[in-house]
């Protein structure tokens, strides 16, 4: 009995090593996820991107992911574990992985890294992100049209430039429709915490907001808006099933095309460290169908989307006046330049709140 068990064990281990050998010919691509793949938001969309990648190049690559990796001391180990497991291209999909990714990248110069939404790069570490503020601008137009109270509720995650530029783009757009629009902001201080997000949505509605927008990842706020009969925008992914009568549209992160492009480059040996910051024109994100709004609002949104995609409309068109009443320097000709948007650390005039830490 004992002998046969040992033989069985040996056989199984052997079988395991054979399958590992055949997998070795394939390019191994790793992913580090912040949330669970079932978060129905940020991580879910990254995993959809990975699945699109597998569908397209599945015969040439093997993908592995680690989910629920906290942005703390564990991140560095998790990334290094993927390297040690033979992954040659690794996508780290949250801002907080920036320093850990850089540390591991410096240690393994022959492995390529792709860090989402950060600003630190290395010869073997690219960054990629999307110009979501373009989508926020469209949402701002819709929100101002649809709000009866003239008060928008905004759930922020962290007061980093990406989030701040989203708030500013929203408000600038809304002001073109209703110059007196008000926006109430609550910082959830988390990317994903359905409980906190729901509480924030409730508090915003209690303060008179009738359109809820969010920069956090779960559909919790959408559910609250739906329960209370208010309108809301989804985030990251299609959230219409959580608010069939509430969702106006949603900014959809569509990572698939980018992942496929980068893996193809890796396979072809042409991968280079790059800084990719794509917008509607390069399909880094998309807008969900415009729903729960009259046809004229829908048409306005579609026109704005077309104008932004064609490069005819820039959300940060000058002149832009800061909260302090002074005009913001216009470094990009007739609009703010990329650097100003990527480092945005001020509110525009009309936001009746204080940027945390200012």
């Amino acid at each position: 009995m004992r002998k046969s068990l040992l033989a069985l064990a040996a056989g199984l281990l052997l079988a395991g090593s054979i399958s590992a050998a055949s997998a070795a010919d394939k390019l191994k691509v790793g992913f580090i996820y912040l949330g669970p793949i079932g978060d129905l938001g940020w991580t879910y969309q990254h995993d959809l991107g990975r699945q699109a990648l597998v569908k397209e190049l599945g015969d040439k690559i093997e993908t592995t992911y680690l989910e629920n990796v906290p942005e703390g001391p564990d991140a560095e180990r998790s990334i290094e574990q993927l390297v040690r497991a033979g992954n040659k291209l690794i996508f780290t999909t949250s801002f907080g992985y920036m320093d850990p990714t850089l540390k591991v990248a410096k240690k393994y110069p022959n492995v390529h890294f792709e860090h989402a939404t950060g600003y630190k790069r290395n010869p073997n570490m690219s960054t990629y992100s999307a110009k979501w503020y373009q989508g926020r601008y469209i949402q701002g137009l819709i929100a101002a049209k649809m709000s009866k109270s003239g008060v928008l509720g905004y759930i922020g995650s962290f007061p980093i430039p990406e989030v701040v530029s989203g708030i500013n783009a929203t408000v600038l757009a809304a002001q073109t429709i209703n110059p007196n629009i008000k926006v109430k902001i609550i910082w959830a201080n988390t990317w994903f915490d359905p409980g906190k997000e729901a509480d924030a949505a409730k508090a915003l509605i209690d303060q008179g907001a009738d359109v809820i927008m969010q920069h956090t990842d779960s559909p919790a706020a959408m559910q609250i808006a739906s329960e209370r009969g208010k309108l809301a925008f989804g985030q990251d992914s299609e959230m219409i099933k959580f608010g069939p009568k509430s969702q106006l549209t949603s900014i959809l992160d569509t990572w698939g095309p980018y992942y496929i492009e980068r893996v193809k480059a890796e396979l072809a040996g042409t991968w280079k460290s790059e800084d990719t910051w794509g917008g509607l024109d390069s399909h880094m994100f998309a807008m969900a169908p415009y729903t729960n709004m009259p046809d004229d609002v829908k048409k306005m949104a579609e026109d704005a989307q077309a104008a932004i995609t064609a490069g005819k409309l820039h959300p940060f068109k000058c002149p832009i006046v800061g909260q302090d009443g002074k005009p913001v320097e216009c470094k990009g000709g007739d609009h703010l330049d990329d650097g100003q948007i990527l480092g945005m650390n001020f509110y525009v005039k009309g936001i009746d709140d204080k940027l945390p830490g200012k």
Partner: protein
């Protein structure tokens, strides 16, 4: 006929040793069934969990790194628990230690401060952890407040205090508003033991703490006092031991160790202060303390074992595509069996036949 638990007249020493083995055995059997249901090869999965991480130097280092804070905190907690003082707030003491030590790192940032910085950080962190732990201890001794509640609630105070600091006054001016301090200077960083690895001096400190605790409990009067006060409070009073003094002392020591673990984690693997520096070490350490049977050597083994399940779970995720949830289920099942088997130390199963009077007289 009925199966009942009957209290043993005295603790069974043999079972105390065998019970964790039974627990681990039962866990493995359960996991094999679970893996089989998931359609994974159980032997390969167990290999990924338990054997693979032990076979290369890198994983061994990572196990040590992960176990370091757990062991240090658990040693302190074991002293409290042995003395019947229930410190549940090690997480808060860990955070306050991290904050206090970081204060020096943040204030000396960019100045040419000398080699005194790191030692000063360690000392201040330990002192701050101890002081923070003294709050529930003094409330207990002076006012009779439940130390379980007060120490637990102070965890949230510590969390929010840290949160405030890294979002406000200590925020990295070049960090794009992200809630973190700047990376600490090299003089404010715990030195690495192996070039290119992550093993750091903190692991050595943890080993020293284990040794010190073993000597304290095994060979000193104070250790004896701690054991007596915990095991037989009345006898301790007759013996002239002061239970209140001991609550203060054990809380202070465990707070100091948690605080030390906090700054070592921040100045070591993390490199800067940020929210989320602890994935619940202060709470996991409670489990480690009990898994290790409140014995210093046992805690060392338990800490390493729990770290192994973390690292192994991650490798199983990579190698076998086993979801993270299974690792959590696995840890839960292990604890369940450990606690269940522990009841065998104090109780034994007995078949009772309802028609006989013995069943009533026994209690």
């Amino acid at each position: 006929m009925q199966l009942v638990l009957e209290k043993r007249a005295e603790r069974s020493g043999a079972i105390a040793l065998v019970s964790p083995m039974i627990a681990i055995g039962l866990t493995i059997v359960t996991m094999v069934i679970l893996f089989a249901i998931l359609g994974k090869n159980p032997l390969l999965a167990l290999h990924a969990y338990f054997i693979a991480p032990l076979t290369d130097g890198y994983s061994l280092q990572e196990i040590a790194v992960k176990a370091t804070p757990l062991v240090m905190i658990a040693i302190g907690l074991s002293l409290c628990y042995l003395a019947n003082a229930w410190n549940i707030g090690a997480e808060g003491q860990f955070l306050i230690g991290a904050v206090a030590g970081s204060w020096i790192a943040v204030k000396t940032q960019g100045t040419d401060a000398g080699a005194w910085v790191l030692p000063a950080m360690l000392v201040l962190a330990a002192a701050a952890g101890a002081l923070y732990a003294l709050i529930p201890a003094i409330c207990k001794v002076k006012f009779g407040a439940s130390e379980i509640l007060t120490s637990l609630m102070l965890v949230y105070v510590a969390e929010l205090f840290l949160d405030y600091l890294v979002r406000g006054p200590w925020r990295d001016p070049h960090g794009f508003n992200f809630p973190t301090t700047a990376e600490f200077d090299p003089v404010a960083t715990v030195p690495l033991l192996i070039e290119g690895g992550r093993l750091h001096l903190g692991s050595i400190i943890a080993l020293l703490v284990v040794a010190a605790a073993a000597i304290l409990l095994g060979r000193s009067i104070k250790g004896f006092e701690i054991r007596v006060v915990g095991a037989a409070p009345r006898a301790a009073r007759f013996g002239g031991f002061n239970a209140n003094q001991l609550i203060i002392l054990t809380f202070a020591v465990s707070g100091a160790l948690a605080g030390l673990a906090g700054i070592i984690e921040v100045a070591g693997p993390v490199g800067h202060l940020q929210p989320g520096i602890s994935p619940g070490y202060g709470f996991t350490a409670i489990i480690v303390a009990f898994l290790g049977r409140l014995n210093p050597l046992g805690i060392l083994i338990a800490g390493l074992f729990l770290a192994l399940t973390f690292i192994g779970g991650e490798q199983a995720q990579i190698a076998m595509k086993i979801p993270l949830d299974v690792t959590k289920v696995f840890q839960g099942i292990l604890l369940f069996y450990v606690l269940a088997c522990d009841s065998l130390i104090l109780y034994r199963f007995k078949l009772v036949f309802p028609n006989r009077q013995v069943a009533h007289g026994a209690g």
